[in-house]
Symmetry: C2
Subunit: 425 residues, 2 copies
């Protein structure tokens, strides 16, 4: 297209970090190739609402190439990366080599079962749309199966929901399942009473929402209790099997166990052949580069950035990922332009929020702490504002308004396996 070949930047992963990086390189004199194994960017903060049937998948996901349609120097490849040839400066997929001058790895994280991968089958986690479908299938399917079950003990196990891990995702899931059972489903069943479902939120640490101010966490705990969620802190999951879970020494029959406890970074570190920390993250320097590699950046959940040598790296949340992606783009743009490198990466922490249910949320913004309706309104407004695309904003706003007025959940479809539950039971 142009005369001289322009430097090529390959970005792997179109999460918050990868998209931020590509968007910021849009008007720079570089060619960008963005590779992702999905065709869509996912707004993960609302994924739990897809899993609990409040939102449809299209509400929280946007085709990557549509997001970048105005970025003429960005080419999007729907492909799965399998490795990196550092010597040859190329990214490898199953069928092709994609050469790079600069490489940005933004490949995110998956759940971690702390070495017990056999638990994954019985206690799925929530990272992708497929995960959300599976969880929705399990949760709604449990009520469906209970409706047909004649054995009281088996029915009780079907109405037992255990959520492992009380970070924001676990708290939001527990609150959503509680509302689903206590409000949305009440009229729809004849033989079971969905409101009798037991919802347990299990946390190994001493309190829920460990990253939040203790006072806010206490309010959230109270809110959850009001909604009928049973909190079990200082409780370790010691075993998970088909239809059962062991909490400490107590064995429990529970057909639905959801994992929200740990994450493991993507295999980017393995591709690079560099050391990673226990969670699989790659240590990066102040410019977010792999140490000793001037042209390879790692950003988002896969990066372990310890500002000023801090003990804990920055957390794997959307704002960190976005800022990292943008920073890597700035460093590359400066290098290409022959300009001085930007100042070291510094995370601007605007705060944190978690929602528990209708009119109930907690938020820390700057020094400000909010709870209840004010926090919930802020949470709702912020999430609609940060969504990608006006259509999704309207659609999510409409779905929420509808649910708010009717308590209905508009997306209660069980899709995918196409199986009726009898085959499972």
């Amino acid at each position: 297209m142009t005369d001289a070949p322009r430097p090529r930047v390959v970005i792997v992963g179109a999460g918050f970090a990868g998209i931020a990086c590509a968007a910021r390189l849009a008007r720079q004199p570089v060619d960008v190739v963005l590779i992702d194994r999905r065709n869509h960017h996912l707004f993960q903060p609302l994924l739990y609402q897809v899993a609990t049937a409040a939102l449809a998948p299209a509400d929280v996901a946007t085709p990557i190439r549509h997001m970048l349609r105005h970025a003429e120097n960005v080419t999007v490849f729907w492909d799965e990366v399998t490795g990196i040839d550092r010597t040859g400066q190329a990214v490898l997929t199953g069928t092709r080599r994609v050469a790079y001058d600069y490489l940005v790895l933004a490949t995110g994280a998956r759940h971690s079962y702390f070495g017990r991968d056999d638990w994954a089958e019985h206690a799925p986690g929530l990272k992708s749309l497929e995960d959300a479908f599976l969880l929705r299938h399990r949760v709604l399917g449990a009520f469906e199966r209970a409706e047909m079950e004649t054995d009281p003990a088996a029915r009780e196990a079907l109405l037992e929901f255990v959520i492992v891990g009380a970070g924001p995702t676990g708290v939001e899931l527990a609150g959503a399942v509680a509302e689903l059972s206590r409000r949305s489903l009440t009229r729809d069943f004849r033989r079971v009473t969905p409101a009798c479902a037991r919802i347990r939120l299990v946390e190994a640490g001493p309190r829920i929402l460990p990253a939040f101010d203790p006072r806010l966490a206490a309010v959230a705990a109270e809110n959850l209790a009001d909604m009928g969620v049973e909190l079990q802190t200082d409780t370790r999951v010691t075993e998970i099997g088909a239809g059962r879970v062991r909490l400490g020494e107590t064995e429990l029959r529970a057909e639905t166990v959801i994992w929200a406890a740990g994450v493991q970074a993507s295999p980017a570190g393995r591709w690079l052949g560099v050391e990673t920390d226990r969670a699989g993250r790659v240590a990066v320097d102040e410019a977010l580069r792999v140490p000793g590699e001037g042209r390879i950046f790692v950003v988002g959940d896969t990066a372990a950035h310890r500002p000023g040598g801090a003990e804990r790296p920055l957390p794997g949340v959307a704002p960190v990922a976005k800022q990292m992606g943008a920073h890597a783009a700035r460093v590359i743009a400066a290098a290409v332009a022959g300009a001085a490198p930007p100042a070291p990466f510094r995370y601007r922490d605007w705060g944190a929020m978690a929602t528990i249910g209708r009119n109930k949320a907690v938020a820390e913004i700057g020094g400000l702490r909010l709870t209840g309706f004010a926090a919930w309104l802020l949470w709702s407004a912020a999430h609609v504002a940060f969504l990608e695309g006006m259509k999704n904003r309207i659609s999510v706003g409409l779905s929420w308004a509808w649910s708010y007025l009717t308590w209905e959940r508009g997306a209660r479809l069980i899709i995918g396996s196409g199986e009726a539950p009898a085959r499972e039971g």
Copy 2:
């Protein structure tokens, strides 16, 4: 619940016929059990819009038990029927027997490949939400793969779409794929030009829309041609394989082949052990009963009703199914009440409609024939009106308004396999 045991009506299938039957039995002195292997009722007339990324799955599907939440005498089972014990008067699923006093079979139809079931893998059809996801995956995936393909012939094959069968579904799919390629995707690709895609609509008969007035079909054919769809009538598909299709004697490389040609009724006839016609349908009497069986009804696409001994049975369309379901309910209600049976079933034909694209449709209503914008407006209004639930009506109306203004398609997600195309290619 009540004193004397009330007659139990078991309905199998929650399509248009089954739902209409259950809804009409809602206030009758019977207990109704409605069994379906899905948890949702599907508004099939708009399914092609899910396949072509204009609508989200939740827009055209509604949880069955939610639709019938006010029908207190209706219990919904999410289960798969495997057979019928006529002597014992029970429906069999994998794990249970459901006894009936009256049985209504409304189990619909699947595609038929006229004995070439091996074509199914290469030329999927469109009956369920899973089918729609698969088609969406194939259609959007073809453009994605073309973007990465370097071999010109392979790229051309990726941009070749063949739709087999020019009934309403085939026509609507062809029009939608044409709009997708010529309008919605134009800005999103860098290496391929989606508008160069070839879309062929292949029909074995002499013209498209054989059930419509020839003048309307001619207008529809002209509309399709204007949109860039190539019509091949009098053309028989003689072979379909991976990435290729043979039309008559001509072999064609085409990565995307969609089957809209034939249907085959559900196995209801086999369950009953009665004879069926060539399409697998069960002949029914004027009360929609299996001849010689006073208490077993077959309705919808699985029934072959020949009013007045007509040569062709009533077509497998939504209005026929709805009216049949309601009629079976009336016959049962009369029998339970000890009243005189209603008059023989008579289908009221209100007409037919098919849409081709934006501002383009054909409709026959009563003696009236409409084309162009008027028909399209009528088609849109009727489909929104017939949708289940106010939320879906708002959501579909919003999606259509958005697409109308922007040409965008809001539901361009590839979900399910989670695979990048490299694995396929």
